[in-house]
Amino acid sequence: MPVSYYIILASTLFCIGVAGVLTRRNAIIIFMCVELMLNAVNLLLVAFSKMQNIATPPGGVIVNGADAQIFVFFIMVVAAAEVSVGLAIIVMMYRNVHSIDINFLNRLKN
C-alpha cells in the first residue's frame, strides 16, 4: 500500500479536524476536533514507522520504527492529561457563565 495514501488520509483527517475547530463554536466540540487532529497525527506516525521500518538503504543503520509507535503512545498519554485539565477548565467556565460558546469569550479584546 503506497505510503502517500496514508499521508493523504491522515492529512485529510487532520484538516477536517482543523476545519472543525474553525467552524464550531462549542468549546467541547472544538476540543474533540483537536483530539481528531491528534489521532490523524497518530495514524500518520504509525504509517511512517512502518515505512521507515522497511526502508533500509545500503550501508545505512536499520531504522527501528518502534520509536514512532512509542511517540504515539506518549501522545495518547499527553492527550489524556490534557483532556482532564481541559474538561475541568470547560466545566469551570460553564459553572460561571452557563455557556461554553466561545463567541461569548470576548471580555478580553483589542
Binding site: V18, V21, L22, R25, I30, I102, N103, L105, N106, R107, L108, K109, N110
Partner: protein, 634 residues
C-alpha cells in the same frame, strides 16, 4: 611713540568705559568734562604726531588678532599722512562737537546725558580704529563699530519708536554694504593671504583684471552703504532722528566719509580697474543730483542738510571716480568744516526755537541769534562755493577734475553744484530772513545759545572760511600743500596745462554771477512773511523724495515680510513640522486600527493562524520570485 599712537584711540575708549559705567554717579558737568577731555587729549596727541611728522609706510603691530596657517591678521595701526589727516578731523571736529553737546544736551537727565557722551566717545574710538587700522580687517572692525554707534545715537531718545526704526534702518542698510566689504576682504585674503595694506598694494600687480574689478566693486558696495550713495542712501535722512550734534559729527563730518577714506586708501586697487572707477563716478554724480533735487523742497531743516550731505558725498565720489583721490579727501575735510558748522548752526536754531525743526515755522531769526546767523551764512557761502571759501576751493577742484575727465560729467556736476546753492540759500532765507512765522511762545522763547555752543560755531566758521587755502590753485597765488602732504599715500591729482588756468577764471566768474542770481531769486521767493511749504506736481514728487522709500517698501520690505510669514506659518508649521507630527499621528492612527485585529474571538485567532501558516508556506516555496521582485523594486 607706538604707545602714544595706541593712546589716541584708547583714550576715548577709556572715556566710554568711565562715563558709561559710572553714568549714575557722575553729574552732567563731570561727565561732560571727562568725555570732552579725553577727546581733547587725543586731539592734542594727534597734533603731536602731525607736527613731529611721525609717519611711516610700515605698520605698527601690537599683537596677532587672527592667525592660522593660511593667513595672519595682526592688530596693527598705520600712521601715515592720510590716517593722520582723518584723525585730525575726527578728534578736532569731534572735540568741538563734544563741547557743543555739553550745552546742547543740558535738558537730558544726568544718566542719559552721560550715556550720550559714552556713546559719542565710543564712536570716536571706533572711527579712529577705522582710520588707524593697518589692514582691512581692523578697518572693518572700526567700520562696524561706527555703524553700531550711529545706531545707538540715532535711537538715543528710545522712547520714540520712529527714532528706533530710523536707527535700525541705518544699521541694516550699513550691514548690506558691509556684506560687500566682507566679501572683498575674503577675496583679498584668498588672493594675498593677508589683508595688510602694505602687502596688498605692493602685490596688487599680481591680480587679474577680473579679481581687481570684483574686489573694488565689492569694496565700493561697502562704501555705498556707509557713505549713503544710491541705492543705499535713504537711511541718512532718517538718521536725523538723532540729536543734532550727532548728525553733525557722525552723519556729516566723519562716519559717512569713511567710504571715501576707504577708497582713497585703496586707490592702488581702484586705479587698476577703470570699470569700477566709472561706476563710482556715475553713482556719485547720480547721487549728487538726486539728493540735491530732493533737498530743494524739504521743509525740515535737518532733512535739507541731510540731503545736502548725501549730495556732497556724491561730489566726493565723483572726484574719486575721476581719479582725483586727493581732491575727494580734500572735499571731505572742507565738507567736514562747513557741514558740521551747518548742523551745529541748525542745532543752535532748533535750540532757539525750542525743538522746532520745520523751516516753514521759522523766519527772520537774524536779529534774535546773530552769532548763529553769521556763522550759518559763512557756512552757506562755503557750501555753495563762494569764491575763496573752503568749499569753493575743493568743489572747484572737483569740477576741474571732472572737466579733465569728460565734458558731460563736468556740466552735470556743475548743475548739481548750482542746485546746492539753490537749496542752501532757500533754507538760509527761510530761517533767517523774512518775518517770523512761528507761534507766540516760540517767539518769546527765542534766544542766542550759550557760549559752549557758539564758540565751536565760531571756530568752525573760521575753518570753513579759510580752510581752503591749504590747496588754493597757483593762479590765485596758492599752492598744493594738501596734495603734497598726502602724496606719499595718495597720488596727487595734477592740474593739466594752461588751458585750465583760463577755465579757473571762467569758473570764478561763473560762480560769482551764478550765486548772485540765485541769491536774488531766493530772496524774492523765500524771504517772505507767509510760507506754506505745500507743493504740487513735480515739486510734490520731489518733496516726497521721489517716493523712493515707498518704492523700497513695495519691492523689498513687504515681499520679504510676506515670505518670512509664509515660511513661518506654512512651510515650517504645516510643512516640515507637519510631516514630523504627521508620522506620529499616523502611528497612533494605525495603532487604533491594528488593535481591532485582536478581536477577542478564538475562532478568528485560529483562523488567522492557519491562514498565516499557508501564507508562510507559499512565501517559502516562492521566495526566489519574491526576492527578485523586491530587488526589482528597490
Amino acid at each position: 611713540m607706538n604707545a602714544l599712537v595706541l593712546c589716541i584711540p584708547l583714550l576715548p575708549f577709556l572715556g566710554f568705559l568711565i562715563v558709561g559705567l559710572f553714568r549714575n554717579k557722575l553729574s552732567r558737568t563731570m561727565s561732560g568734562i571727562l568725555a570732552s577731555g579725553f577727546i581733547g587729549i587725543s586731539f592734542i596727541l594727534t597734533l603731536v604726531i602731525f607736527f613731529s611728522h611721525y609717519y611711516s609706510a610700515n605698520a605698527i603691530t601690537y599683537f596677532d588678532f587672527i592667525s592660522n596657517s593660511q593667513y595672519n591678521i595682526s592688530f596693527s595701526f598705520q600712521v601715515d599722512q592720510l590716517s593722520t589727516l582723518f584723525m585730525l578731523i575726527i578728534t578736532g571736529v569731534g572735540f568741538l562737537i563734544h563741547v557743543y553737546s555739553t550745552a546742547y544736551m543740558r535738558e537730558e537727565p544726568p544718566e542719559h546725558f552721560a550715556r550720550y557722551f559714552a556713546y559719542l566717545n565710543l564712536f570716536v574710538f571706533s572711527m579712529l580704529l577705522l582710520v588707524l587700522g593697518a589692514n582691512y580687517v581692523i578697518m572693518f572692525i572700526g567700520w562696524e563699530g561706527v555703524g553700531i554707534c550711529s545706531y545707538l545715537l540715532i535711537g538715543f531718545w528710545f522712547k520714540n519708536n520712529q527714532f528706533n526704526y530710523a536707527a535700525r534702518k541705518a544699521f541694516i542698510m550699513n550691514r548690506i554694504g558691509d556684506v560687500g566689504f566682507l566679501l572683498a576682504i575674503f577675496w583679498i585674503l584668498t588672493k594675498f593671504g593677508s589683508a595688510d595694506y602694505s602687502v596688498v598694494f605692493s602685490n596688487s600687480s599680481t591680480l587679474s583684471v577680473a579679481d581687481v574689478t570684483g574686489i573694488t566693486i565689492l569694496l565700493f558696495v561697502g562704501a555705498i552703504g556707509k557713505s549713503a550713495q544710491i541705492p543705499l542712501y535713504t537711511w541718512l535722512p532718517d538718521a536725523m532722528a538723532g540729536p543734532t550734534p550727532v548728525s553733525a559729527l557722525i552723519h556729516a563730518a566723519t562716519m559717512v566719509t569713511a567710504g571715501i577714506y576707504m577708497i582713497a586708501r585703496s586707490n592702488v586697487l581702484f586705479s587698476m580697474s577703470p570699470v569700477t572707477m566709472d561706476i563710482v563716478a556715475v553713482i556719485g554724480l547720480a547721487t549728487a543730483i538726486l539728493a540735491a533735487t530732493i533737498a530743494l523742497f524739504q521743509n525740515d531743516i535737518k532733512k535739507v542738510l541731510a540731503y545736502s550731505t548725501v549730495s556732497q558725498l556724491g561730489f566726493m565720489f565723483v572726484a574719486l571716480g575721476v581719479g582725483a583721490y586727493t581732491t575727494g579727501v580734500f572735499h571731505v575735510m572742507t565738507h567736514s568744516f562747513f557741514k558740521a558748522l551747518l548742523f551745529l548752526g541748525a542745532g543752535s536754531v532748533i535750540h532757539a526755537m525750542g525743538g522746532e525743526q520745520d523751516i516753514t515755522k521759522m523766519g527772520g531769526l537774524r536779529k534774535k541769534i546773530p552769532i548763529t546767523y553769521w556763522t550759518f551764512l559763512i557756512a552757506v557761502l562755503a557750501i555753495s562755493g563762494f569764491p575763496f571759501t573752503s568749499g569753493f576751493v575743493s568743489k572747484d577742484e572737483i569740477l576741474m577734475a571732472a572737466y579733465a575727465h569728460s565734458q558731460p560729467l563736468f556740466w552735470l556736476t556743475t548743475f548739481a553744484a548750482v542746485l546746492t546753492a539753490l537749496y542752501m540759500f532757500r533754507v538760509f532765507m527761510l530761517v533767517f530772513l523774512g518775518g517770523f512765522r512761528g507761534s507766540e511762545e516760540q517767539q518769546h522763547h527765542l534766544h542766542e545759545s550759550p557760549p559752549a555752543m557758539t564758540i565751536p560755531l565760531i571756530i568752525l566758521a573760521v575753518l570753513a572760511a579759510v580752510g581752503g587755502f591749504v590747496q588754493l590753485p597757483e593762479i590765485f597765488g596758492g599752492h598744493d600743500y594738501f596734495n603734497e602732504f598726502l602724496a606719499p599715500v595718495v597720488p596727487a591729482f595734477k592740474h593739466v596745462g594752461e588751458s585750465l588756468a583760463v577755465q579757473e577764471y571762467y569758473l570764478l566768474a561763473g560762480t560769482v554771477v551764478g550765486l548772485l542770481i540765485i541769491f536774488l531769486l531766493c530772496k524774492k521767493w523765500y524771504a517772505v512773511k507767509q510760507f506754506e511749504g505745500k507743493y504740487t506736481g513735480i515739486k510734490n514728487v520731489l518733496a516726497h523724495k521721489w517716493y523712493i522709500d515707498e518704492l523700497y517698501d513695495a519691492i523689498i520690505v513687504n515681499p520679504f515680510n510676506n515670505i518670512a510669514g509664509f515660511l513661518k506659518s506654512i512651510v515650517e508649521k504645516s510643512g516640515i513640522d507637519g510631516i514630523v507630527n504627521g508620522v506620529g499621528r499616523f502611528i497612533q492612527y494605525s495603532s487604533r486600527q491594528v488593535r481591532l485585529v485582536q478581536s477577542g474571538m478564538v475562532g478568528n485567532y485560529i483562523l488567522i493562524m492557519v491562514l498565516s501558516i499557508t501564507v508562510l508556506f507559499m512565501v517559502f516555496w516562492n521566495q526566489d520570485l519574491i526576492i527578485g521582485f523586491l530587488q526589482k523594486i528597490f
